[in-house]
């Protein structure tokens, strides 16, 4: 693999030839990447691709076999009170079932010398204040996900790292998470969110890191990835001109098909739908033609040719 260009100086998270070997298995193979501040990055790959192992190395829970990872220019383990800069959730189930949600957060806030009042703030933020006194045993998966998020937010961090946060969430929970991450990232804060399903994060992320078998397959913006799709989206709308204008404002090309039809190039149907909604244009039909984003993802992460 060619040497990666040096990471930009302001990069929040940097992986540099990150490698992890378990016996004869190469779980992560010379992974190099850099995350710019203020971005939401989707860290994608099929199950077993090495995402969690990479995150564990980033967060100082596992030692790389070779290479290095840094967060805000330092190794995670060298940070004092890292909770004030980085919030991370690796597993949705990391709670003592017999401890209340509030006490779980208090054990963490104490270790970071944060006031108990901050615990109540984050509980309100994730809408768990009413359940906080109950033992975690009785929490639904969605509540546990939010409690984990609350722990990550205790120190009001600038960087959020979440491993498969949408796993097991119902559609309403997924939407809540998406809205939350968007709100978090406005204001220059950075998010790294892993998933094995591109569609889960496609509406949220600015850029993607796709890995397979421990190797980096793609590092690009979501738009570039969408452009790679090469397909187009057929849209039917009674306000064709207005939609075309809105699309052009976002540098998205569209050709006229007929009285109510447009063919949009190089944009996902999610993006087009969002733009149309923002512009107040009603959509009657939205059909992806050719290969979809998900097809490209599956193609990129397919078993390598022998």
């Amino acid at each position: 693999m060619a040497a990666a260009p040096p990471a930009p100086a302001d990069a929040v998270v940097v992986g540099d030839g990150l490698t992890k070997r378990f016996g004869s298995v190469l779980a992560v193979d010379s992974l190099s990447f850099a995350l710019a501040p203020g971005t939401i990055t989707g860290f994608l790959g099929p199950n077993g691709a090495g995402k969690t192992t990479t995150l564990r190395m980033l967060l100082g829970l596992a030692a790389p076999s070779s290479g290095s990872a840094s967060v805000f220019g330092r190794q995670y383990s060298e940070l004092t009170r890292p909770a004030l800069r980085i919030g991370a959730v690796l597993e949705a189930t990391d709670f003592h079932p017999g401890r209340s949600g509030r006490d779980h957060l208090r054990t963490l806030s104490r270790s970071a010398s944060l006031p108990d009042a901050r615990v109540d703030e984050v509980l309100r933020l994730v809408e768990l204040d009413e359940a906080a006194g109950r033992r975690v045993k009785g929490y639904s998966l969605g509540m546990r996900q939010r409690l984990g998020l609350a722990a990550a937010l205790l120190g009001d961090p600038e960087l959020l790292i979440l491993d498969e946060p949408a796993n097991g969430l119902d559609p309403e929970g997924v939407r809540w998470l998406r809205d939350f991450l968007r709100a978090f990232a406005t204001g220059g804060r950075t998010v790294l969110v892993s998933s094995h399903v591109l569609a889960e994060v496609a509406q949220t992320v600015d850029q993607v890191l796709i890995i397979n078998h421990g190797r980096l397959v793609v590092e690009s913006s979501l738009e570039q990835l969408t452009a790679r799709v090469g397909g187009s989206v057929r849209v039917r709308t009674p306000e064709r001109a207005k939609l075309r204008e809105a699309l052009e404002r976002s540098q998205i090309e569209a050709t006229i098909v007929d009285e109510q039809g447009l063919l949009v190039h190089g944009a996902s149907s999610e993006k087009i739908g969002d733009l149309a909604f923002a512009a107040g244009v009603p959509i009657h039909e939205l059909v992806a033609e050719g290969s979809s984003l998900e097809d490209v993802f599956l193609e990129l992460t397919a078993e390598p040719q022998p």
């Binding site: 564990r56 596992a62 060298e78 189930t93 990391d94 709670f95 003592h96 401890r99 722990a151």
Partner: protein
């Protein structure tokens, strides 16, 4: 460091497991001190060693403080809370050090409660049955302080054992099998070695004078040495091992 100790103490206080351990300790000490205080024949309660056995029944609290120490570490691995713990405090030696301190403090409370209860019941049954109190002031102080100190050290030793073993069931079974079976066999067959082992060192620390036991100060030193050895092993292993 103080912040981390406060966090660890809250972990101990905030689960029902701890309440269960404390209640179990109180029940067992009540049972043993009442049984031996009321059912033992009066002439078997007259010697200083007889009375140390009766009045020092609170040393049973050591099993429970060791369990609390083991739980403080192994439940973190069992339920995965070790991940957020290390994410908040990536200096693992600080986490282990705080757990050792918290185990010692919790053990101190266990010791005061357990030996307070055991001594009170034992003393009441002696005076209720008209058996004259045989221990001198110095022997009584050694019994009280030695027992409490031993129980406290077992709390920290439990943390060390828990961090070395990590598996909850394995650590608990290991503790009980060693303390109640293996070490007694060792002491019975090779007392010159067995007397340095931790439960017999605690017996010596509380002033018991059974054949082959170490003197009290040496017993205390041996128990401290075990605690330090497991503590150092815990620190070294925690720093080296990846967290899944």
């Amino acid at each position: 460091m103080t912040a981390q100790v406060r966090a660890e103490l809250l972990k101990i206080r905030s689960t029902r497991t701890t309440i269960g351990i404390v209640l179990g300790m109180i029940a067992l000490i009540l049972l043993f001190s009442l049984l031996s205080g009321l059912l033992t024949q009066a002439q078997s309660l007259t010697s200083t060693e007889d009375q140390r056995g009766l009045l020092g029944v609170g040393s049973l609290a050591g099993v429970f403080s060791a369990l609390a120490g083991i739980m403080l570490v192994t439940s973190e691995y069992r339920f995965g809370t070790i991940r957020p713990t290390f994410l908040f405090t990536p200096k693992r030696s600080r986490v282990v050090g705080a757990k050792l301190a918290a185990g010692l403090l919790a053990g101190l409370v266990f010791g005061v409660v357990g030996e307070g209860l055991g001594f009170a019941i034992g003393y009441a049954s002696l005076s209720g049955r008209g058996v004259p109190y045989a221990l001198s002031g110095g022997q009584t102080s050694l019994l009280l302080f030695g027992t409490v100190a031993g129980v406290a050290l077992w709390g920290a030793l439990g943390v060390g054992i828990g961090m070395v073993v990590r598996n909850q069931v394995g650590a608990i079974i290991g503790l009980l099998a060693w303390g109640f079976v293996a070490e007694n066999l060792l002491f019975a067959f090779v007392p010159s070695v067995g007397r340095f082992a931790p439960t017999h060192a605690s017996d010596a620390l509380m002033g018991l004078t059974t054949d082959h036991l170490l003197p009290a100060a040496a017993g205390g030193a041996a128990l401290v040495a075990w605690t330090v050895a497991f503590g150092l092993a815990a620190v070294a292993l925690a720093a080296r091992r990846d967290v899944n």
